[in-house]
């Protein structure tokens, strides 16, 4: 049985990697993937606390998060495809029309 603090450290690392990806990557697909990393870090936390507190609710919640993430990726990829069709690029730095 792995002890809780190790799992939490792992999920924190995973979340930080996701934040870095979202803020630093230029490729829109990579940004989406980084968002998935952050969601999965949350899932790990949920399952870890569920196991440690003997409450199955956290695992059920994790299942819902996975389902929502799938839907989110579906929409996100559709946006990326439309972006590419219009701009022939998926560099998020170039998508800055909505400004002052």
């Amino acid at each position: 049985m792995i002890r809780l603090p190790f799992v939490l450290l792992f999920s924190a690392f995973l979340f930080s990697a996701g934040v870095y990806g979202v803020l630093a990557r230029r490729n829109a697909v990579m940004v989406l993937m980084a968002i998935e990393l952050m969601l999965n870090a949350v899932n790990v936390n949920l399952v870890a606390f569920s196991s440690s507190l003997h409450d199955v609710g956290g695992q059920i919640f994790a299942l819902f998060v996975i389902a929502v993430a799938a839907a989110e990726v579906g929409i996100g990829l559709a946006i990326v495809i439309l972006l590419f069709r219009n701009r022939a690029s998926i560099n998020v730095d170039e998508v800055n029309l909505l400004k002052w």
């Binding site: 940004v31 998508v95 800055n96 909505l98 002052w100």
Partner: protein, 666 residues
């Protein structure tokens, strides 16, 4: 004798059925019905068959039946019905209640007004057929009838005044019914203004009476009790009596306010019959009778003044009736004369009240009949002038016979209605005021004379007008026959030999027993006969020149109505029109307009000042707020870079800051 039997039978019936007792409680409905009919005609008249006349006729028919039921209450010996009124409003100690006061006089007047009005409503179907304002005519006719019934039934002076004024307006509207002709609208204005001059003293008379009751009531019965009391000021009561009589002078067209009535003949003839012969002009007489308590308690010289005015009017008008060519004017002056006859009766004091009102009662029927008959003639020959008529007795037999009955009744031929009422007045005058007796006798001779002249000029001799006159349609002759029947029989109600039941209904203080003085009846009949014979001798053959032109000076004076109208025009109307109106105009142009313009100038200056404040300060604040907001926005907008990742950085930074803050607080 008959009356005693009738009373006995009816009293027995009243005990068992109580019909009359029931009807009298609802006497006010009689006055209400025409007021309901008037708006119905106005709003739905043109869409109903018969153009709305049916509403008026139905209301009057129902009213007539109810009025008979109310009169039946008095026939059966019932007493005055005067319930508590409904609270109208109160000013300090003055409580105003509206209600009904039904005594014998009211009941008789209700019957007269509804009967004559019904006859006129039916008659107008024929006379006004095809008129441009047929529906409107019926609206005003109904309104007028309702107002007259209100006057009759009112238990307080203020309600009476309301009805009185509505009548004045209706009279004005109907005289000017054909207002396209200037002459007619002038006559309407003349009538309105002249009666209004009488209304002013009437109003002040009401004030005086309210004052006499200590400012507590306008109820007629309570006023009567109050001024009969010991603390009433006799000077105030005398003033009130004179002022009230001023109102009666205006409405009943007595000298010196008589000038409007002959001109009022400009209206349609049915209107002349209803308003200017049978009912409205009787309102002044009615007022004096209703308020007789005031006249009794006033200084005796008031009744002397009343008798003098009555004598002047009755004689003066009778002379004028002698020389008229317009048939309606003959009847109009005759009406003046006969109204003064009634006033003369009232001037005899309490004993004359019954006689005066009996004459009002009979006169209403035969004078309405004569006017409607004249209308029938005018309808046939399209002219008011007797010089365009003549020889009509064969063409228009119904009109002829009914007109003849009416004329005979007016002349006082035994045993028609006019004989009985005139006889009672003559008897009263002989007993109480002998000089008045001779005046009334002279007028009786002249009345018979001018009616004979009128009948001979219109129905006998050779027709000199244009076209071929025809008898009027049955809707016109029907009312004539009905009124002729009434003119024959109503006199017997006051016949002393038959018990004089009229005196049991209409009296002052205690029931009046008519005296029958044989020699007075003979003298009265001789007077009528003398007038008729004189008229017959002079007008038996038609002549180019009126035989009375043999007295050119008198003829001229009479043709100019004693120059009274001219004097009023020169003395009152022209000065007001030429000088006073110029002064009023100057005041209007300079003083009133100056005030208005000054007010406008001040308002404009103020508005300019306020506008400056508005633009400078209020707008300044608003603009400053707007500018500040714009500048701030201009600076803050650079945060919106359009770079999604930049937003995400800010978001995370915010989360981190918030987390640190929460942790620190915890």
């Amino acid at each position: 004798m008959v009356a005693a039997v009738v009373t006995a039978i009816a009293a027995a019936e009243a005990e068992t059925t109580g019909v009359a007792t029931g009807a009298i409680q609802y006497a006010w409905v009689i006055a209400l019905l025409p007021f309901i009919a008037a708006p119905l005609i106005l709003f739905f008249g043109k869409r109903t068959p018969g153009q709305g006349a049916v509403f008026g006729i139905a209301a009057l028919g129902a009213g007539f039946v109810m009025a008979l039921a109310v009169l039946f209450h008095f026939v059966t010996g019932g007493g005055t019905y005067a319930p508590e009124g409904i609270e109208w409003f109160e000013i300090g100690p003055l409580h105003l209640e509206v209600g009904q006061y039904v005594d014998g006089l009211t009941a008789v007047m209700l019957v007269v007004v509804t009967a004559v009005s019904l006859a006129v409503h039916v008659y107008s179907l024929g006379y006004m057929h095809g008129d441009v304002r047929f529906t409107w005519f019926y609206v005003v006719l109904s309104l007028f009838t309702g107002a007259m019934l209100t006057v009759v039934i009112a238990d307080n002076l203020l309600l009476l005044l309301v009805g009185w004024e509505i009548m004045g307006v209706c009279s004005y509207l109907l005289i000017g019914h054909w207002y396209e002709e200037h002459e007619n609208s002038s006559a309407a204005i003349k009538a309105f203004i002249t009666t209004r001059i009488g209304d002013v003293p009437f109003l002040f008379g009401i004030f005086a009476l309210i004052f006499a009751t200590g400012f507590t009531t306008t109820n007629i019965a309570e006023i009567g009790e109050s001024i009969a009391g010991p603390e009433a000021s006799s000077a105030l009561v005398t003033a009130a009596a004179l002022l009230l009589f001023g109102g009666a002078i205006g409405k009943s067209a007595q000298f010196p306010l008589h000038v409007w009535l002959p001109d009022a003949m400009a209206g349609p003839t049915p209107v002349s019959a209803l308003i200017h012969a049978a009912t409205m002009v009787a309102a002044g007489v009615y007022l004096v009778g209703r308020m007789f308590e005031v006249f009794v308690h006033a200084d005796p010289f008031v009744l002397t003044i009343v008798s003098v005015i009555a004598a002047i009017t009755t004689l003066g008008a009778a002379f004028l009736a002698l020389v008229q060519d317009d048939i309606k004017r003959v009847l109009a002056y005759s009406t003046l004369s006969q109204l003064a006859y009634m006033v003369a009766g009232l001037s005899l004091g309490p004993e004359g009240v019954t006689a005066g009102f009996f004459h009002l009662f009979t006169h209403a029927f035969f004078k309405a009949l004569l006017f409607l008959g004249a209308g029938s003639l005018i309808h046939a020959v399209h002219s008011n002038n007797m010089s365009d008529m003549g020889g009509l007795k064969d063409e228009m037999p119904v009109t002829f016979w009914t007109f003849l009955i009416g004329s005979a009744a007016l002349a006082g031929v035994f045993p028609l209605a006019g004989f009985w009422s005139k006889d009672e007045l003559l008897v009263g005058a002989w007993e109480h005021n002998q000089w008045l007796f001779f005046v009334l006798l002279a007028v009786a001779v002249m009345t018979a004379f001018y009616m004979t002249r009128c009948v001979l000029l219109t129905f006998f001799g050779r027709y000199v007008g244009e076209g071929h006159p025809h008898e009027s349609p049955p809707v016109m002759t029907g009312p004539l026959v009905g009124l002729a029947g009434a003119s024959v029989v109503v006199g017997f109600l006051g016949a002393p030999q038959l018990g004089a039941v009229f005196g049991d209904w209409v009296y002052f203080e205690h029931p009046h027993d008519a005296d029958f003085v044989f020699w007075v009846a003979v003298v009265g009949t001789l007077a009528a006969a003398a007038g008729i014979l004189g008229g017959y001798r002079l007008y038996r053959e038609r002549r180019e020149r009126d035989p009375l032109m043999a007295f050119p000076r008198a003829w001229n004076v009479l043709q100019h109505r004693y120059y009274i109208d001219d004097a009023y025009m020169r003395g009152i109307v022209y000065p007001i029109r030429d000088r006073a109106s110029a002064g009023v105009n100057w005041t209007n142009q300079h003083v009133l307009d100056g005030a208005v313009n000054g007010a406008a100038w001040v308002t404009r200056g103020l508005a300019t000042f306020i506008s400056w404040i508005d633009r400078t300060f209020v707008d300044g604040v608003v603009n400053a707020v707007g500018g500040l907001t714009g500048a701030t926005g201009g600076l803050l907008k650079y945060l919106q870079t359009g770079n999604v990742q930049w937003y995400a950085v800010l978001l995370f930074a915010g989360v981190v800051v918030l987390t640190i803050v929460f942790v620190q607080i915890a």
